[in-house]
């Protein structure tokens, strides 16, 4: 039997909890859960060495420990500071922290293009949530935002360097999950950018996970690019037997079409089981997957908009009343609508759709002109 570890007490926002020595304040707060847990843009529990870069998880330490109850002079990054016995931490109960967080969000957004209407990450973006909760209503920044030369990093991953907040998560993924890291942060300061050294493609079997760990829309799925918005898709937990990875994923369906495959994220938006590129990019058929059931999405997320849980449909009485005849439809929407044509599977198009994909007229006659 393992030796009983000495537990230490820490108080976060007046809630006391016992944790193991060596736990960070952030993880202690996450153990309590709810609003007490500070937001994190760069810390990722499954990636070693992550954290300490974005400064969104700043907290106030009102008392260092029982032995030395002096407060810490400055706000500390909770992902990088370990708890001490008797430490008193203030997160949302501290005015100072909320004010600092607002400032940090403003700094993160200084160079972030506000192109959420175009960005595929919108709806599941950590920076969007963070600025919604902690940010100011409008920007005070009047200067040009930084721009970069566009790099193509392969057929699967789309890089939008302007959106990057330099959290280094993708670098850690490549370091810890793959044999050889091909991309990294080049240059310094304002010029630093995620890139491969002299235009290489990221081709490792597990490199697709950089899409999931990216807190913003800097790295997105090229096979899903512009295909649909996440809130119009239905996330389903699914699995398949994969020789490379656990095969446990979330598939994002619309009807029978699999638009996107991602790894499963936990309550903190973190992936525990990383998946391989084959599962993520190649298996775009519902028949490839064993569906376990709908993914639990927070009711407050836009992804759950229009998803009705536990609805009871009234019994169809028309055929009964009409002696078994089905009611005559006045209009089949597919006979008029050009959107969501049943014979066109948008998810099967390689990469984003272009005007050339829609050139062919699928209509033999236009019902509006010639009814």
């Amino acid at each position: 039997m393992a030796e009983e570890k000495k537990m230490i007490k820490v108080t976060v926002d007046n809630i006391t909890i016992e944790v193991e020595p060596g736990t960070s304040i952030l993880n202690a707060a996450r153990k309590i859960g709810g609003d007490v847990a500070p937001p994190a843009m760069c810390y990722y529990s499954t990636l070693k060495g992550s954290g300490g870069k974005c400064r969104t998880c700043l907290v106030e330490v009102a008392a260092g420990s029982t032995a030395d109850p002096r407060p810490m002079p400055k706000l500390v990054a909770s992902c990088r500071t370990n708890v001490m016995d008797g430490m008193i931490v203030k997160n949302i109960t501290s005015e100072k922290v909320l004010d600092a967080r607002k400032g940090v969000v403003e700094f993160l957004l200084i160079n972030h293009p506000l192109d959420c209407p175009i960005c595929d990450q919108a709806g599941e973006c950590s920076l969007q949530d963070l600025s919604f909760e902690h940010g100011a209503e409008s920007t005070r920044y009047e200067f040009k935002r930084r721009t970069f030369e566009k790099h193509d990093i392969g057929p699967y991953i789309q890089l939008h360097m302007t959106r990057c907040i330099l959290c280094y998560r993708c670098v850690y993924v490549a370091d810890q999950l793959t044999q050889k890291r091909e991309h990294g942060i080049l240059d310094r300061g304002d010029h630093s950018e995620i890139a491969t050294y002299i235009h290489k493609a990221l081709e490792n079997q597990f490199i697709g996970n950089v899409i999931d760990v990216c807190p913003v829309g800097a790295l997105t799925d090229k096979t899903f690019r512009f295909k649909n918005r996440v809130w119009f898709l239905k996330p389903l937990d699914a699995h398949r037997s994969c020789p490379h990875c656990s095969g446990k994923v979330t598939i994002w369906n619309r009807g029978e079409e699999v638009y996107r495959v991602t790894a499963r994220k936990d309550a903190w938006g973190e992936v525990k089981d990383f998946i391989c590129n084959e599962c993520r990019f190649e298996k775009k058929k519902t028949s490839d997957w064993t569906i376990e059931g709908p993914t639990l999405i927070s009711r407050h997320s836009v992804i759950s908009a229009g998803h009705y849980v536990g609805t009871v449909k009234p019994q169809e009485v028309m055929p009964e009343v009409m002696d078994g005849r089905e009611p005559k439809l006045l209009m089949d929407i597919h006979s008029v609508s050009e959107v969501n044509r049943p014979e066109i599977d948008l998810s099967k198009i390689e990469g984003p759709a272009h005007s050339s994909d829609f050139k062919q007229d699928h209509f033999h006659f236009n019902p509006k002109v010639n009814p």
Partner: protein, 182 residues
Amino acid sequence: MQALTSKAKPVGRKPMTFWEKLYIPAIAKGMAITFKHIFRKKPTINYPEKTRPFSPVFRGVQVLNRDEEGRERCTACGLCAVACPAEAITMEAAERLPGEENLYREEKYAVKYEINMLRCIFCGLCEEACPKDAVYLSETMVPSNYNRKTFVYSKQELLIPNPLTDPEAFAKAKGARPEKTL
């Protein structure tokens, strides 16, 4: 019993007098009202030759807007569709190809955009949700039709005329609508 309102008038049940039985004063009174209205200004107008001015908050058929260079503003972000309580709006997005910069304002655009006017309740939430001032409700009513199929409006019906090639039609379609501050 307590009266429900103070406006109730008790009905007189007493028999009519001789003067009332003649009916002539009542007829004269009634005709006076009728003839008075002949000389009044007519409230009816000859629609559709003449139209009444719309209220500034009137919400009519949707218009897909263009910017001053004639490029389509819509980026198919889907916010109108998710805001729509009647689920009338659907769209499909595509990426702008090099050379199409004069057609579409942003990297991504709505290659197909449809509003089912049979579903639309003209609440204006799509206009409110739009981050790009791309869709707004104009001062035009949806024309009636005998055929249901004509009520699914695609980009063909919704797009505003191009201000560069057809400035008159653009100005007419735009009307007196002020620019939305984004």
